[in-house]
């Protein structure tokens, strides 16, 4: 099980460099070598290779990730069925509520943000496209977990554990189970400052024939959601959006 098979070092290094460039924004061979403790010539050959392949471009002698990654990302995004069916509805949700709205799928045991729409322009703490977060600590993640097969949930918890991010993060298996049961009843998953202090999030699963294809959410400052009426209003909006997306799936 523990994937002992050989991996290709050069490829790992190449992606390490890509990630280093993501962090550094732009850098030359020396800076990359420094950042990753590689020999200057190794860094150079890798950068040269990636450049020739079109994945980097050079400005003022420094390398940057090129639009090829944007193209790949766009293709990936459009490959998610939930994106094709949900995109417009998520944007509408954001407009209607005036809050940040997200569309999330499960991938490799984590919640991956497939689309994000913000009416307010605020982005503090909210997920950005492609970002992965632990499922047990997010509303969207819990909405998905609540409708995944039990064995898959086991697997996910085993792989990623239940790390704590704030004082409110769920850290025990029992607590998680009872919360998932509640989510199945109410149809709404709540992240009450469990992943980030001050951030509240409400999510609903997108269920088609019993399978969870993703989840939708709105999120914003916990203070603003404090009012129970506002909370109920937003819950309803989220549930409704999920429902509309489900219908979109059916009338493919």
């Amino acid at each position: 099980m523990a994937g002992t098979t050989k991996t290709i070092g050069a490829v790992e290094r190449a992606f390490d460099i890509v990630e280093a460039l993501e962090r550094l924004e732009s850098a030359g061979a020396s800076a990359v070598a420094e950042e990753l403790s590689l020999s200057k010539s190794t860094a150079y050959t890798h950068l040269h290779t990636l450049h020739e392949q079109g994945y980097l471009h050079k400005t003022d002698g420094e390398y940057r990730l090129s639009g090829q990654f944007l193209r790949l990302g766009t293709t990936v995004q459009q490959g998610y069925p939930v994106y094709r069916h949900g995109r417009a509805h998520v944007e509408e949700l954001a407009d209607r509520t005036g809050e940040r709205a997200n569309l999330v799928v499960e991938e490799r045991g984590k919640g991956t943000c497939v689309h994000a729409a913000n009416a307010s322009g605020r982005t503090d703490g909210a997920m950005i496209r492609g970002e992965r977060r632990h499922m047990h600590a997010t509303a969207t993640g819990k909405a998905l977990l609540a409708h995944l097969p039990a064995e898959r949930v086991d697997e996910i918890v085993e792989t990623h554990g239940l790390p704590s991010f704030t004082d409110h993060t769920i850290t025990s298996r029992e607590e998680l189970e009872s919360e998932l049961a509640e989510i199945r009843e109410t149809g709404i998953a709540i992240d009450a400052e469990e992943s980030i202090d001050g951030l509240r999030c409400l999510a609903a699963p997108i269920l088609v024939e019993g399978t969870a294809y993703g989840s939708v959410s709105v999120s914003g400052p916990a203070r603003e959601f404090a009012d129970p009426e506002r909370d109920a209003e937003l819950s309803e909006a989220v549930r409704k959006a999920a429902n509309v997306i489900e219908l979109d799936f059916v009338f493919e």
Copy 2:
């Protein structure tokens, strides 16, 4: 100039596989090996490596590009100054005109789409995020070429040539020069079905202190733009959008 330096084969192969997966949507080791004429075990080891790195995920025994590419793409997008300053204005342009609006930068001698907004939902022929097109055959490309240093234009034409895509594509250097001069005068670049039959596009450069940071455009079916009044109206809207973005740059 001709980059004779050694490149790393394993890395090239890895990206070939990524691109193959982009085309195939999802595939197993055998399918990838077939597609790229690799030995099954080589394809397997590469897929395994990319999977371990988190760049692929497995569903029903088939590999797919993962959200990591979406994350990288998002980072790249947000790294373009023109995106940060122009995003909102491009969306407004699309809303106001009811047409598709694009934001483009020059990268490696081609026009790379940094953001695309469509009010209509139509996407036929329009650029998608990250897509690269020849500059001489697109309105956005020509708007940029018109304000690039002459030597850079030479370089670009030398590297990529002036390939023809429709009956209206510019294919001679002189024709291009005179058109660029006209663009500098009018402030508007026109793609009259030069890259794709039936597609018309109007673009304006985003100039800050004489440097072209990118270009904005609207595009749609050539028929709809036929009316000279509509054309003038759209030209004005595009020019105005470019101007607003330029101002956004200045008041950073």
